[in-house]
Symmetry: C2
Subunit: 344 residues, 2 copies
């Protein structure tokens, strides 16, 4: 009897929790951005969506034209101390050397194989490019996809010891969902590798592969020994999706000017300018990493420490203020940064 | 009194027509491909959709993976005697010469300005490329879009004296709608200009600009005199979306192998091979132009007259048969070709 009564009590608690908890209630019926503090940034997003989806209103945007673009590294997920894709490339070097042992004696592969982190941190941009070309090209697209899929399911960030895919920003995930629920088509426009991000974009962000624009290498069509056609990844740069390459990539892959655009660094400047300069309601926003406690603090805008990864210079901050973009303060605007953070 | 009775009678006839006509009934509740005759091609489409959308079935494809690609010229609309986009380029030459009068004395512009159709028909591929570069580049993307929009709203085909946009194949429009109603995302993958087709794709095919892959030129980001950013179309080929360029373009712009693919000529061969070679249920189909009465007859497959526009060689026909693609006979498989055709 006692067991049965306990179960019944538990069931009642669970039912109350599922049906009546304030959090669930607010999410379903009220605030679409529960992880955001009230402030100018949250208000700007809510007002933009309200204005562009109010039929008959002066700033209404037809559903077919609702396009929103998001940078990934530093905008949707953590990009410090280094980009996840760079870690992938470094992690692939031993596999590469196993297949081609002669590389073990050649720089920069020799340094990577040494495991000496201090020496690795000193690798030049040219060295990193060599590693990228060696680890991102020469295989079939399916083989690359399978490798990334395996890596991303296991690799962990050194600080939180969590999967990289857990390090997405909850407030930005809410913006993605809110825009989609409001008829917007959401795109990732990343300086990172298009083929890399496409492997996990659907699962992690709810964004299908064809809605990921990124730095893209060419492929070459051919046939295997059984005559089955396949594509090989080639070391031929088709799109450098950074700086002016972002609006150029948006035109190539999307074909129209976004109504809303989100970035966090100097590589996003032209994309945000381009979005904001369109007719009617346009929203451009920058994430400022000013929370060294919960995430990282870097700029060098607003006196924050300088960085080589995801630089946000003062000039970009000033341009944002001048052109009516919004700067999102991670510290002030976000109640929670990650889904795994302890509550408010 | 008489007038009122007549109106009432007319209203009753109309009501009967709208609610009870066999055609409307069949479309709404039964046959999703009413302009197709019963035969192997229609059966193949119906079975493919049935198989890939039956949850729990052995050939089920999750909604997120349902991708279908369509060539445009000769597959979705008429491409004879010449491609509509070529007519656009030739039509633009006088405007170009007005802006740059020195071109009037230079070939191939001189020939085009002469209006001598016989001489124009003899222009070489290199001449046509010069005309394409001159009429498709150098302007802002918005200015190009506005020009094409104006042209496509007015220009008429020489045979039917109808807008080019009326010359889409009704049976293929039905396939597009049927696939979309079955959870497929439909893409155009055209050898024609990506920016050109994107101007009218939504209105004509229900396909948004970002779902049009085509031969693509680069753009260059810059600022006008007021500091407003814009993109200029550049004479730099990013993607030649023909032959092997089709699967390569599909990878670049869509990122996965289509489950269904439709073409009509040798330039579609690799796209159809690529689609068909994927795992699970795949459908590759070719439109054969064997109806010289209602449209055009050309091959040279199956003893049809040879052509330079949309060539369908016998080797392609044989490959289709060997690899399990389907060949659609316009003559035998299509009850109607255009929406404006008189009934069945």
């Amino acid at each position: 009897m006692k067991t049965i009564r306990s179960r019944s009590f538990l069931a009642r608690i669970l039912a109350l929790g599922l049906l009546g908890a304030p959090g669930a209630h607010a999410l379903a019926q009220g605030d679409p951005l529960p992880s955001w503090n009230d402030g100018a940034a949250k208000k700007a997003i809510l007002e933009f969506v309200q204005a562009t989806t109010t039929e008959g209103g002066p700033r209404f945007v037809p559903a077919v034209d609702r396009i929103a673009t998001f940078d990934q590294d530093g905008t949707l997920w953590v990009s410090h101390p280094v980009y996840a894709q760079l870690v992938y490339c470094l992690d692939r070097v031993p596999v590469l050397v196993k297949a081609r042992p002669e590389l073990a004696k050649v720089e920069p592969f020799k340094t990577v194989m040494s495991g000496n982190r201090e020496a690795m941190a000193k690798l030049s941009m040219k060295d990193l490019e060599k590693i990228a070309v060696a680890t991102l090209t020469g295989m079939s697209v399916e083989s690359f996809q399978a490798d990334v899929k395996k890596w991303i399911a296991e690799a962990r960030d050194p600080r939180w010891r969590r999967l990289y895919t857990e390090l997405t920003y909850l407030p930005m995930q809410e913006v993605l969902r809110y825009l989609r629920a409001s008829g917007y088509k959401t795109f990732i426009v990343t300086g990172g590798g298009q083929d890399f991000v496409r492997v996990y974009s659907q699962e992690v962000y709810g964004i299908p592969p064809e809605q990921v624009v990124g730095t893209a290498l060419g492929t070459k069509y051919g046939y295997d020994k059984d005559g089955k056609p396949f594509l090989t990844k080639e070391p031929k740069l088709l799109l450098n999706d950074n700086d002016a390459g972002k609006p150029e990539g948006i035109h190539l892959m999307i074909g129209r000017r976004p109504h809303a655009s989100f970035g966090n660094s100097t590589g996003d400047r032209q994309m945000l300018e381009y979005a904001k300069a369109g007719d009617g309601a346009r929203l451009s926003m920058l994430v400022l990493h000013d929370d060294g406690t919960r995430e990282y603090a870097y700029g060098p805008a607003q006196g924050l420490p300088d960085t080589k990864v995801g630089t946000f210079p003062q000039a970009l901050y000033d341009q944002a203020r001048k052109q009516g973009w919004f700067v999102i303060s991670m510290k002030d605007d976000w109640k929670k940064i990650f889904a795994f953070d302890q509550g408010e």
